[in-house]
Amino acid sequence: MNAVENQVPEFEGIPSAEDLARIADLLIEAGLETIELSDGKGARCFMRVTSSVAKSDKQVAENVTPVEDLSSRIAVSAPYFGTLVLTELAKVGTSVQPGDVVAQMRIGALQIPVLVPVTGTIVDVAGEDGALTGYGAPVVQVEPTSR
């Protein structure tokens, strides 16, 4: 089983809101702006993302007290279920970059990485090392770096 396969939703009709959000995260993660999904029957879904990094930077810039603004924080959640194994990066205060692995979801020999989507600092570790963790559970929170 491939972790990325699990993350990319199958295109069967209009994707749900959470699927759209996941696709958007993947696009940002891969440094892409647009994606077009199509199926054999001719249905097409075209998506464009304006980088959430840029968006949150803007929010931070407009805010007088950016550190207090929790809305700019990015929650990194479990892309699959399994036993959560935190890496050494998963500590409050660690600087992270897109693609950094903060944890692994483990099921036997299967390991699915939990990836950070943005550049920033880890401000909260919600995941519990060694705990059985469900899909979508919060693992860490990242405060994106202002540019």
């Binding site: 199958e10 959470e18 699927d19 996941r22 279920f81 099921i107 036997g108 059985l132 469900g134 899909y135």
Partner: protein
């Protein structure tokens, strides 16, 4: 706890009322439960109450309740030794059943081979015919070329007959013939159409059942050669092939007739080595039973059989999967009284469109002979992603009249706010003189709805 048990922890690969029903059966047998759920079902009662709960994916069923690999991985990571599929979702997926067993786990249901055999209508019907289960009378194969021979078959089957294309389906390539004078022409026309539409002119012929009832037989089989039938259910009240209200036994059909069919069903089970719970579905008209299909799982309407037999079907499924022997004989099974089930759906009373939303009031009925199987509690949010069944009210009485009377009181007591339900439909149905008389056919509900509609 029994040292001989194959498993001590059961993963429930389903949601809603049946997940809670399975959890209760597990608990009563001293087994632990694993609730796997989608993000949309995080607040479900069985999820809160399970020994282990694990979110396995987003709301879309294809990525949660239908994700075969995900369910097997969830069983592995939670240490479950068995998987109960419930109904719907993967319950009749032969490959999943095989994959569960290949992973060293117990599938609480029949073997993949049994599911596969019953999933294919042609092999299922052949197996049933060989076992002596009555099927729709007909040509039992392709029609001969000679018009005289076709006529002889039709006369033996009895008019009206339906001429069907072997390669057809979905209501296409078939013609109802009411008398001998129409037959030759109808056969020629249907063959020509079948050739054009399906590239295959092969036809067969069956008795056309005009106003059949839906009558089904519940069976339970262990892995030691015991196969039992648990009586009949009448599920004729359907809308768009969805059952709305069911009752046990089937009104007006003599018990000895049901016993005869029941014996044929369990004989078929023994022949194919069936294990677990199953249901043989029949069309019934003018004393003739015609096998439609076998459901190789627990059914939504199983509680009415539990009420009339006193047998916990879900617990028996689990015990059979443990390898235990059914400690019952056919003569021990007393089918007594009458039970009715009303399926409660979150749907608009007029349009039947789903009515998801938060249930702000949920007052349940009670009293003697009333059982409610539901996962809904006050402030529960009915999700739009799944079917609209929110619960089942089951009434039991010594007689059919008492069961109806108790159900009417129960429906009047029930209070639901925040969403729309079909309670009023059930109340109107129970007041319908034809229903009260008993034995309506499968088209009755749609006819009755059409007559009631203002347009």
């Amino acid at each position: 706890m029994n040292e001989m048990q194959r498993f001590k922890r059961v993963l429930i690969a389903n949601r809603g009322e049946i997940a809670l029903r399975i959890q209760r059966a597990c608990r009563q047998l001293g087994l632990e439960t694993v609730a796997v759920y989608s993000e949309a079902d995080a607040d479900s009662r069985h999820v809160r109450e399970a020994d282990v709960s694990l979110c396995i994916g987003p709301a879309a069923a294809s990525k949660s309740y239908l994700d075969r690999d995900g369910l097997l991985l969830a069983a592995k990571v939670t240490g479950a030794g068995a998987i109960h599929p419930g109904y719907g979702f993967l319950s009749e997926n032969a490959d999943f059943a095989d994959a569960v067993e290949a992973a060293g786990l117990t599938f609480i249901g029949p073997t993949g081979d049994s599911i596969r055999m019953m999933g294919d209508k042609i092999t299922a019907k052949r197996a049933m015919r060989e076992a002596g289960v009555p099927c729709v009378p007909g040509s039992d194969g392709p029609l001969p070329a000679s018009a005289e021979e076709v006529r002889a078959i039709a006369l033996e089957v009895g008019f009206p007959v339906i001429v069907k294309a072997s390669g057809g389906g979905g209501g296409r390539g078939m013609r109802v013939v009411h008398g001998g004078d129409e037959l030759e022409n109808a056969v020629a026309l249907t063959a020509k159409e079948a050739q054009q539409a399906f590239g295959n002119p092969t036809l067969y012929l069956e008795k056309y059942m005009q106003k059949p009832r839906h009558v089904e037989i519940q069976v339970l089989c262990d892995t030691h050669g015991t196969a039992l039938w648990l009586g009949a259910r009448d599920c004729s009240l359907q809308r768009r092939h969805q059952k709305v209200l069911e009752e046990a036994p089937a009104p007006g059909i003599p018990p000895e007739t049901i016993a005869g069919i029941g014996e044929r069903c369990v004989q078929a089970c023994r022949q194919i080595g069936y294990r677990g719970a199953g249901t043989f579905e029949f069309l019934y008209e003018d004393g003739i039973f015609a096998f439609i299909e076998m459901n190789t799982r627990v059914q939504v309407e199983h509680p009415i059989t539990e009420e009339t037999t006193g047998i916990d079907i879900v617990a028996q499924q689990i015990r059979i999967a443990q390898g235990e022997t059914l400690d019952l004989r056919q003569n021990d099974i007393l089918m007594q009284g009458h039970a009715i089930e009303c399926r409660l759906n979150a749907e608009d009373a007029a349009t039947f469109m789903p009515s998801p939303g938060t249930v702000t009031r949920w007052d349940l009925p009670g009293g003697p002979g009333i059982r409610v199987d539901t996962h809904v509690v006050s402030n529960y949010t009915v999700q739009p992603y799944y079917d609209s069944l929110i619960g089942k009210i089951i009434s039991y009485g010594a007689t059919r009249e008492q069961a109806i009377a108790r159900m009417r009181v129960a429906l009047a007591e029930m209070r639901v706010e925040g969403i729309s339900t079909n309670i009023a439909l059930h109340q109107a149905l129970l007041a319908d003189p034809q229903f009260q008389e008993g034995g309506v056919d499968i088209h009755h509900l749609e006819r009755w709805l059409a007559e009631r509609s203002p347009s």
